[in-house]
């Protein structure tokens, strides 16, 4: 693991939505082979930050480097092509499509017939079913069924299965254990560690500092669109980090002053 060259480097990132200043001068590095917990209260800017990384939002100012190269155009297609897979909370699944079609949306396997790209349904059904069932899809639900019929946990399992299946370089998990049972939650956490051990960068977003402290190598805390803490889990306890979240930036300012 080379800590000198970050896989993703964010420098002085700003993002405005009209008059609202969503991200304020955020600078942070992410390295391959590390699991970073991105923590903060609602509205802290965690999801907004990762939406820049996965190409949904284009920053108003600042720079983003991926593997040393500056990213000039932001689009989810480009991010996916670079190997950034995101499990998002509110988007990512189309209710009207089947599980298999959702699983492969945007990277459909095709078989050429007279030059025409036709969907490889056999592969789509077989692979999506096999992968998603590991994460809690009921046996009586067919992968041809529409996502609309799935429970919250099953919907999450489709997103997680999709992120795991495609061999990526970065997996961003935005509250991945929401709606999951205790066993499924453990499974997801184990998986995050496995991905990290395989050399992937895993960014894990959550409210639960204690849960992510057990897993992460590093914790980045955000508040009101700013990064207020970036600390190794070896040097800071979960309790100390919780205090940072509770008191906001004030505790960090006091500590830096000392």
């Amino acid at each position: 693991m080379n800590k000198q060259t970050p896989l993703i480097q964010i420098k002085n990132l700003d993002l405005h939505f009209g008059a609202f200043h969503a991200l304020k001068n955020v600078s942070v590095d992410f390295h391959a082979g590390e699991l970073v917990g991105l923590v903060g209260d609602n509205g802290a800017g965690k999801t907004t930050l990762i939406r820049v990384l996965c190409g949904i939002h284009t920053p108003s100012a600042g720079e983003v480097y991926f593997d040393g190269t500056r990213v000039k155009t932001f689009h989810p297609k480009l991010a996916i092509d670079q190997g950034i897979e995101t499990i998002q909370q509110s988007v990512g699944l189309c209710d009207n499509l089947s599980i298999a079609r959702n699983f492969y949306l945007g990277r459909e396997p095709v078989k050429r017939f007279c030059g025409l790209p036709l969907l490889d349904f056999a592969k789509m059904r077989e692979m999506s079913g096999r992968v998603i069932r590991q994460f809690g899809l009921r046996e009586n639900v067919s992968v041809d069924d529409e996502v609309e019929r799935l429970s919250g946990g099953e919907r999450q399992s489709v997103k997680i299965g999709r992120a795991v299946e495609f061999k990526n370089r970065v997996v961003i998990m935005d509250e991945p254990t929401n709606h999951l049972s205790v066993r499924e939650r453990e499974h997801v956490n184990e998986l995050a560690l496995q991905l990290r051990d395989q050399g992937l960068l895993v960014i894990y977003i959550t409210h639960d500092i204690f849960q992510v402290h057990r897993l992460a190598d590093r914790i980045v805390i955000m508040e009101n669109g700013e990064k207020i803490e970036d600390a190794s889990t070896e040097t800071m306890s979960a309790e100390a980090l919780e205090e940072v979240i509770r008191q906001g930036g004030r505790i960090v300012e006091k500590r830096d002053a000392v």
Partner: protein, 324 residues
């Protein structure tokens, strides 16, 4: 067990409702018209009308699939017919048809670019283009009509383009069958179809998976324009004349056929065979009114009632199918 299988079937095939309606109407019309509706000549006429309306409906269904709407297709139909007839007497009708279809593609691109670039609701943009191109059609014809005399319309090109019959059915109908087959494959079996339905289902989710939402919408508008102009070409080839009012109100019929066929106007759920069956039902109703001597003015009223009841029925059926 059987009930759950039926529910699954209804969930996956939105055209089941219109199939049932079609069968009931065919039975009703056959039994109550004393042979005036169910005879070879009349069925041939219904299929010819279904061909042009059906092709237009297929395009509208694709646009509805993306969550947008195109109400300008009636004017595109008229422009297609006029361009075709203008050129058909000067160059080979096949090239004239290509020019008409090209004009349809341009109108579709005009709609699609304005909708995707300006983020203005497609209802407003296509309402504008409905009037722009209707106005253009009226201005072009200047109160007259474009025509090709019957004796000049006996060549192979005219025949293939809806100007003649093959096995007792207008050749336009074969174009409809071919169009339906091609689009069905594109929609159900290619990545493009998956993207189109994803955009209609949730544009934000499709975007987050890397789907180029604006390009997909634009492509649907272009295909819609092409099909509407081609439908106009087939109609002009059959009739041999066209004036500035050609295709008026057909946009309403096309949208009604889509709704009847199980297409959800919010997007993401469409049935192309259902939309074509919807066009068949509307053509059949129109024909039934004619053969039974009912004044054709009642058609629009009947059309409205059918659409309202079909939409309510479809909604009820879908809710039932989703209940566990």
């Amino acid at each position: 067990m059987l009930k759950s299988e039926i529910k699954r079937l209804v969930r996956r095939h939105t055209e089941i409702g219109i199939l049932f309606i079609s069968l009931c109407l065919v039975l009703l019309f056959t039994l109550t018209s004393e042979g005036r509706w169910a005879n070879a000549y009349n069925i041939g006429t219904i299929l010819q009308v279904t061909a042009t309306l059906g092709l237009m409906t297929l395009g509208v269904a694709l646009v509805i699939g993306t969550g947008e709407i195109d109400i300008s297709v009636g004017s595109t139909f008229g422009i297609g017919a006029l361009i075709y007839l203008w050129f058909a007497v000067r160059i080979d009708p096949v090239f004239a048809a290509l020019l008409a279809v090209g004009a349809g593609a341009l109108i579709g691109a005009f709609n699609g670019i304005l909708v995707t670039r300006t983020k203005t609701p497609s209802l407003i943009i296509t309402l504008g283009s409905l009037m722009i191109f209707r106005g253009l059609a009226i201005a072009l014809t200047d109160g007259f009509s474009f025509s090709v005399p019957y004796k000049e319309r006996d060549g192979f090109s005219y025949s293939v383009l809806g100007g003649a019959e093959f096995l007792g059915i207008n050749t336009g109908f074969y174009w409809l069958v071919a169009g339906l087959a091609v689009l069905l494959i594109a929609l159900k079996m290619t990545p493009w179809g998956n993207w189109l339905l994803a955009v209609g289902g949730s544009a934000a989710s499709a975007h987050s998976r890397g789907v180029r939402v604006e390009r997909i919408k634009l492509s649907a508008f272009v295909v819609c324009g092409v099909l509407a102009a081609f439908a106009g070409t087939l109609e002009a080839s059959k009739l041999g004349f066209a004036d500035g009012s050609m295709g008026r109100l057909m946009e309403l019929q096309a949208i009604a056929a889509c709704v009847l066929g199980g297409c959800v106007l919010a997007g993401g759920r469409i049935s192309l065979p259902g939309a074509v069956l919807g066009a068949f039902v509307l053509s059949s109703v129109q024909s039934y009114l004619v053969v039974t001597g009912v004044r054709p003015q009642w058609f629009i009223l009947l059309l409205g009632l059918i659409v309202v009841f079909a939409a309510l029925g479809d909604r009820t059926l879908r809710r039932w199918s989703l209940k566990n």
